[in-house]
Amino acid sequence: MLELRLVQGSLLKKVLEAIRELVTDANFDCSGTGFSLQAMDSSHVALVALLLRAEGFEHYRCDRNLSMGMNLNNMAKMLRCAGNDDIITIKADDGSDTVTFMFESPKQDKIADFEMKLMDIDSEHLGIPDSEYQAIVRMPSAEFMRICKDLSSIGDTVIISVTKEGVKFSTSGEIGSANIVCRQNQTVDKPEEATVIEMQEPVSLTFALRYMNSFTKASSLSDQVTISLSSELPVVVEYKIAEMGYIRFYLAPKIEEDEEMKP
């Protein structure tokens, strides 16, 4: 028996909107600690990891670990039927091949049940080691979204370079090139507008912008985004989900092909 009651139902809606472009089918894993998802995109270049901790739910009951395979587009379709202020409850019976989403309006005057068929999904669960990153950039998520959007109109890849001066996003394409530098800025009135750079050593990595762009779909979940970079490691783009958990996107860097350069 599984029953998760989430007062701020819009969170779940946003989560789905954030990941459904990247991943079409995924297993949601429910355990005593929380509701989580880990999935790779079809090309195995990016990985999304979602965690909604049990404490974040108004009511969380999970008798035994359960993995529910869902088509995220279908799930998003159903969640779109929920109002933004609705309370969402996810229910599933052990051994059942369906999941039920229940939407309650804030005034409790409307209750809707949506039952969705589950699917069997073979998914590879990857172990993600805790790594020390050479550079961690925290910046307004809207700013990051804007940068990715702007750069993708110029080129296909973005080079993210972190130095003492700041973080630089650069791209180049047929029509030209672009560089956007964001400097450290903690003197703003609102903490959510701060740009904070913690750097152990300068790092510069290249990424495909289309993935970055799809990561930024999660911008509505959080005012701030944290970008963790290490050479030889995938970048982590993390959006915190208020008091509940996080959604993290991992993206493998583009690596220099140097075979042909060797003598």
Binding site: A46, T157, S161, S172, G173, S177, A208, A252, P263
Partner: protein, 517 residues
């Protein structure tokens, strides 16, 4: 072994070799030695052998082993091998292989191109000497073969100046000893096909090939026009110009499709020097095709020049049109190709050239706006382009275009002109890079030849672009070049950027970073 008696006069050179050898970075090859002291290459080999015998302990020797292979008697193989591996290498040969000292150096270089560089630099210097000055390359004095077919005229000018050729012995033989050529070339091909051949040997494929000639007839030093097979050439380029690969100036035209792939050369101190050596097989093939398609470019080149003045095309494929009659004359008169700048030039000559370059920068700058024809020699071209790539702002050529151009030695200009020259009557084809993302998320970049049908269209287009470029000479190409430049020196981490964002990158997989749980 190249043993035997060594003349006393030769032995007198030993102290000099010793002095040369004291420079730890210097590679002394027999070829270099031969040219430097004007001794025959066989003597040079003996001399090196002598030197090795005396000072064998503290130096590394690269031997060239040549003979018939055991495994397949049809294969005549020349192989460069380091001292410790000599015996091993000999095992692969039949009994009667010859072992000669190829070069001595303080340590075996990692990059085989280093072996070849000094010779290249040297050959270039020799070719750049005034025409009335005799030197061992020009008068062909060590050539054991005299052949009436060898004409030191302009016959080879379309291909002759392709950069890395000058010391290509196969090419020499192709002209000087036609009868041997087929066999030798097939040998080359086989050598390159040999699976077990060491990388060193591969890298030095052309050299070994050449060695076989020097062994046979010492013909290798002849400054005859050369026409090696393009395949072999490409190989050589890949193998030996490893460092220059990213900057392949010649293929810049192909890179316009993804401006991100802009070269590392801007970051190097002498872009012209790098670019000029780095003309790729692509460029050469392209040039060759163009040459085949339209061999009467001279006139058109002129026409184009007059038609459009010296205003550069606003299109970035526009080509710097330096070719002119004077230069052609030069080439014709000497019949030996202007050599491109060395890839890793000798420090001394380099500084010399640099100062010269600086001196000439001024006049070049003045010349450029009015007319480029002032340049009459290869050196000038390089200087010009160098000065321009240094100061992109004042000049109405895009620095990159220039680099592309400068990567081609002067004699190619005509062909290059026709490549990009819109007024050309030959069907215009250009390489277009098409990048798409395949179903697995990888970026696939295809090089496609795109043909354009009517010459009339082209002319029209040219007219348009030309006028446009007159109106706003440097507006368009400049930002790209500048941006590129500003990117390169920005920081250590950033220096690789241009290459990274371009062809040289592939998308990694997340699976390679995280293991399955």
């Amino acid at each position: 072994m190249a043993g035997g008696a060594v003349d006393q006069s030769l032995l007198d050179l030993l102290p000099q070799i010793h002095a040369l050898f004291s420079d730890p970075l210097r590679v002394i090859s027999y070829k270099w030695l031969s040219r430097n002291f004007s001794v025959s290459s066989n003597d040079a080999k003996r001399l090196l052998q002598e030197f090795v015998d005396k000072n064998g302990a503290d130096l590394q020797v690269i031997y060239s082993v040549s003979g018939w292979l055991k495994n397949n008697p049809q294969n005549y193989c020349v192989k460069l091998t380091s001292g410790p591996k000599l015996e091993e290498a000999r095992q692969a040969f039949k009994d009667s292989c010859s072992v000669q000292v190829y070069s001595i150096q303080a340590s075996i270089p990692k990059d085989t191109a280093v072996l070849w560089n000094p010779e290249f630099v040297q050959a270039e210097e020799l070719f750049n000497q005034p025409f009335d000055e005799e030197n061992c390359l020009r008068d062909n004095r060590f050539c054991g073969v005299f052949n009436s077919f060898v004409k030191r005229t302009s016959s080879g000018k379309h291909v002759s100046s392709l950069p890395p050729k000058p010391v290509n012995g196969a090419a020499v033989a192709a002209q000087s000893k036609p009868s041997v050529t087929p066999k030798e070339q097939s040998v080359t091909a086989r050598q390159q096909d040999l699976p077990g051949v060491s990388s060193l040997k591969q890298g030095a494929g052309n050299k070994s090939e050449k060695d076989s000639f020097t062994v046979l007839d010492k013909a290798a030093n002849a400054p005859v026009s050369k026409e090696p097979s393009i395949v072999a050439h490409a190989n050589k380029n890949k193998a030996q110009n490893g460092k220059a690969m990213p900057g392949n100036g010649g293929s810049l035209a192909n890179m316009w499709g993804r401006a991100s792939a802009k070269p590392k050369p801007p970051a190097t101190t002498n872009p012209a020097a790098v670019a000029s050596v780095a003309a790729t097989a692509d460029a050469q093939i392209c040039a060759k095709e163009e040459a085949d398609a339209d061999s009467s470019d001279d006139e058109q080149g002129l026409k184009y020049r007059r038609g459009s003045g010296n205003a550069s095309n606003r299109k970035r494929r526009a080509v710097f049109d330096f070719s002119d009659d004077e230069e052609d004359d030069n080439i014709v008169s000497i019949a030996s190709p202007e050599l491109p700048k060395p890839q890793a030039p000798d420090p001394v000559t380099q500084t010399a050239e640099d100062t010269e370059a600086d001196q000439k920068n001024m006049e070049n700058k003045e010349d450029i706006p009015s007319n480029v024809k002032g340049c009459s020699r290869g050196l000038d071209f390089e200087l010009t382009s160098e000065c321009k790539s240094k100061s992109v702002n004042t000049i109405n050529y895009s620095g990159i275009t220039l680099k592309e151009k400068s990567s081609d030695p002067p004699i190619n200009d005509n062909k290059q002109d026709s490549t990009a020259e819109p007024a050309s009557t030959s069907p215009k084809r250009r390489k277009v890079l098409k990048t798409r993302i395949d179903e697995r998320g990888r970026e696939v970049t295809e090089v496609v030849w795109e043909g354009e049908a009517s010459a009339g269209d082209k002319t029209e287009k040219n007219a348009n672009t030309t006028t446009a470029s007159r109106a706003a000479p440097s507006s368009k190409p400049q930002p790209a070049a500048n941006a590129d430049k500003s990117k390169a020196p920005s920081k250590a981490a950033g220096s690789k950027k241009p290459a990274k964002a371009g062809t040289g990158t592939k998308q990694g997989s997340i699976m390679s970073f995280f293991k399955k749980a």
